[in-house]
């Protein structure tokens, strides 16, 4: 269907793709696996006409083809569903689907019933049922993704490229997406799935191509390889210990939460011990994500009592929490974690002056040495501290956010989806680092949608369902079945 041969793409200073070849057949799911920076994004951009390669050929339906921009590729039937979805949140689902036609001459006047009917028809093709009049801003991430897929299918896409579609989905939504992909495969659509999650590849892909540092390092049928094979191909080394052997010894109670509630949460009772990792799990919309922000003072209206080492806390603002030794790593590092246009150093120093412990006069030599310390300790791969945060890979960006939190020397660190959308290597490094932190007596509240991470890293797990605490599981009770059962219903 679509075939590329010997593609080379050079950016100033880097060879992003070096002699890459791959092929996707009709009605096949091809997985593209690789660490961040392996060249996946560049390859997609070549396939979708955004970049033109320095060398190599692209064949589409057996014919050599050259794209002069994304519109060319789309017209030929190659559609990309990007990681960050480009929707206009205030406009309706239908209008978002229809926008492309606004540039056509015969659509100078808008016929609303036609717009809504077309949207319904598009969504029906993938069995998606969302009222076409609903504003996109009121749809979940999972729904938006499916809307985007519907748009592509409706526009007669024959090759559909999905760029890390599940990075923001929970298990249930992921399963729905998988079913949707299976449906498309049966219709004869070719799918290229870019992902970090090996489980998904094992679940749905027919073949897998592994990229590393711009080269193709392997291509195989999914049935013929094991998970460990894929991981080692990806990173070039065997990660037998993706998750560290936990060596922390939780001490006495550090944080106690009693009858805590906000507009979305109610009646939570739990404690966090010194040097423990408390995992928090919930399905999308359960309110578990808000818990992190609430404990960090982002909701000034709350009920109940929160005590840190016996002292009653006023959770009125992040400023107060940071001074008390609570820090928060937000899930959306690009929007909430980093000032992307500022340097790595400047980002690392973001919390430093708010702890109340440090001088308010800026000493540039000290800033330099602090940022260098974290760049070494967390192994942040960056040319220098002056590099703009935006140019770093996802994993390294996340390490910068972690560094700025840790520079405050916190007692408790609240992590909100700490490994979302980052590669296996960086993930493993972050897990090891968290383990080392808890060993030193720092407590961690880890809110996550990723089950393996939750099971491997937590000492105990708090499960939230519809804003209420549905279970607090000790190590022995922490099984996937127990957790999911508690996440689905309150009657656990």
């Amino acid at each position: 269907m679509l075939k590329v041969e010997h593609i080379t793409k050079i950016f100033p200073g880097v060879k992003a793709l070096d002699d890459v070849s791959l092929e996707v057949r009709k009605g096949e799911v091809l997985a593209l696996l690789g660490e961040n920076g392996a060249g996946k994004s560049t390859l997609i951009k070549v396939l979708s006409g955004i970049h033109s390669p320095e060398e190599g050929e692209i064949y589409y339906k057996g014919e050599p083809i050259k794209f002069h921009g994304p519109v060319d590729a789309k017209e030929a039937g190659i559609s990309v569903v990007h990681q960050e979805l480009a929707f206009l949140p205030l406009l309706s689902v239908a209008e978002n689907l229809y926008i492309r036609h606004y540039t056509e001459k015969r659509h100078r006047l808008v016929n609303w019933s036609e717009v809504n009917a077309a949207a319904k028809e598009a969504m029906d093709m993938i069995h998606l049922h969302i009222p076409p009049e609903r504003p996109v801003g009121k749809c979940s991430v999972a729904e938006c993704q499916q809307i985007e897929i519907a748009r592509a299918v409706y526009e007669n896409a024959q090759v559909l490229i999905l760029d890390e579609p599940t990075s923001a989905l929970n298990d249930k939504e992921t399963e729905e997406l998988m079913k949707c992909i299976e449906g498309l495969r049966e219709k004869g659509v070719s799918i290229i799935l870019i992902t970090h999650k090996i489980e998904e590849i094992m679940r749905i892909a027919d073949r897998v191509v592994v990229l590393r540092d711009g080269h193709t390092v392997g291509e195989c049928q999914v049935g013929a390889v094991t998970k460990d094979d894929l991981i080692s191909m990806m990173v070039g080394r065997k990660i037998t210990d993706m998750y560290p052997k936990k060596t922390n010894r939780p001490g006495g109670t550090l944080l106690s939460v009693e009858g805590f509630g906000t507009d979305l949460l109610s009646d939570l009772h739990f404690t966090v011990k010194k040097g423990e990792i408390l995992g928090v799990y919930g399905l999308m919309g359960a309110g578990h994500l808000e818990l992190g922000q609430a404990l960090f003072g982002c909701y000034s209206k709350y009920t109940g009592e929160v005590r840190l080492g016996g002292e009653l806390l006023r959770l009125k603002s992040p400023e107060i929490c940071i001074r008390k030794g609570i820090v928060f790593l937000p899930s959306d590092r690009k929007q909430e974690g980093l000032v992307l246009m500022h340097s790595v150093k400047s980002n690392i120093m973001n919390l430093y002056y708010q702890t109340g412990k440090n001088s308010r006069i800026v000493n540039h030599k000290r800033e330099e040495s602090i940022s260098r310390k974290w760049m070494e300790q967390l192994r942040i791969k960056t040319p220098s501290g002056e590099t703009i945060a935006e140019s770093l890979s996802g994993g390294n960006q996340q390490k910068v956010v972690l560094a700025k939190c840790l520079e405050t020397d916190p007692k408790i660190i609240i992590l909100n989806d700490p490994t979302r959308g980052i590669d296996v290597g960086a993930k493993a490094e972050i897990y090891h680092f968290l383990n080392a932190l808890t060993e030193k007596g720092v407590s961690v509240i880890m809110i996550t949608s990723e089950m393996p991470e939750l099971l491997a890293m937590s000492d105990r797990v708090l499960v939230i369902h519809e804003g209420k605490q549905s279970a607090l599981l000790e190590k022995e009770e922490m099984t996937q079945t127990n957790i999911v059962a508690a996440a689905i219903s309150n009657d656990f």
Binding site: I322, E336, G337, L338, L351
Partner: protein, 321 residues
């Protein structure tokens, strides 16, 4: 040798480097066209007139770097100026008049800051409303008539020189130094840039975004007050219709200096050089006898040209969007 290389690297990193080149081109152009242009006296007269916009551009730059904007400063100048005129006509001392001017300017900052940070109004709207209100009050107070002011202190501030350099320029340089230190060496200055980079990130980093924004607008108000005193002193009169363009010229100067209108980035030095460039341009065009409407067209064009160059410079290579 490596020191030289490092030095060159450092110079290359200066954001407003193209501005300096553009400035040089303008100076060379006018020097060739007019025999009177290139002289110490003329340059001192440029710097004398540039100092008002230069001073205003300092905190305008910080306001823009914080992701905000202010359209009211021109009206604040008119208001402060008229209040001083009325007070001094009524016999009060120049010092009291200046103090009240500073106070009123600071209060306009409080108004802007509260509306934007605490009420949550869009800065465009809040300061646009302020621009109309303050100008209106200036007209009301003076009955739309101008007041002539003659005062020795004002002569000293507005016209006199120390070591050959106008006192107004000394004030500008002093404030440039002061705000340079605030921006680079204080936590407050750094917080302004984080807020401009992303209010969300700033809030989650424990920065009191509202308080800092308010404080910034109050400081901006006080600096506008300083500009008002110099403006009134140079003019020797209080006019309710004065300083219609000063505000926008200051924003232009900051943009020439490389400030990002979406916030997070800005250079004080660049802004002052931008102010100098604009004044030089107008000075040069006056010497060549360019008609004033043409001057507006040319000034607008220079701004567009400079910003276009900057966009082209920053456009990513190898990508079609």
């Amino acid at each position: 040798m490596s020191n030289l290389k490092q030095g060159i690297q450092k110079v290359k990193k200066i954001d407003y480097l193209p501005l300096i080149f553009a400035y040089a081109v303008i100076i060379i152009f006018f020097s060739v066209c007019s025999p009177y242009f290139l002289s110490f006296t003329n340059f001192m007269s440029i710097i004398l007139y540039a100092s008002i916009v230069g001073i205003l551009s300092l905190t305008t730059c910080l306001v823009l770097a914080a992701g905000q904007i202010d359209f009211s400063a021109g009206s604040v100048i008119a208001l402060g100026s008229c209040v001083m005129g009325i007070m001094m006509r009524g016999g009060s001392s120049v010092w009291a008049a200046m103090a009240v001017c500073m106070l009123i300017s600071a209060l306009t900052g409080v108004y802007n800051g509260i509306m934007i940070a605490y009420v949550g109004m869009n800065p465009f709207i809040a300061t646009l409303a302020g621009m109309q209100m303050f100008r209106g009050i200036a007209y009301l107070l003076t009955d739309a008539r101008s007041i002539t002011i003659t005062n020795n202190v004002f002569k000293f501030i507005g016209r006199a020189r120390t070591m050959g350099v106008p006192n107004a320029a000394w004030i500008m340089l002093l404030l440039l130094l002061l705000f340079g230190i605030v921006a680079k060496y204080t936590a407050f200055g750094r917080r302004i840039f984080v807020i401009g980079g992303s209010q969300k990130v700033a809030y989650l980093s424990g920065i009191n975004v509202k308080r800092d924004t308010l404080l910034l607008f109050v400081i901006h108000g006080v600096v506008t007050g300083v500009a008002t005193v110099i403006f009134t002193a140079q003019l020797g009169a209080a006019l309710p219709a004065a300083a219609q363009n000063t505000n926008f010229t200051a924003i232009s100067a900051c943009v020439l200096g490389g400030v990002s209108l979406t916030g997070g980035k800005g250079s004080l030095m660049g802004s002052v050089i931008g102010a100098l460039l604009l004044e030089t341009l107008s000075n040069g065009m006056n010497m060549l006898g360019v008609a004033s409407f043409w001057q507006d067209v040319i000034t607008g064009f220079v701004l567009i040209f400079a910003v276009t160059l900057d966009i082209i410079k920053n456009r990513r290579k190898g990508s079609s969007y």
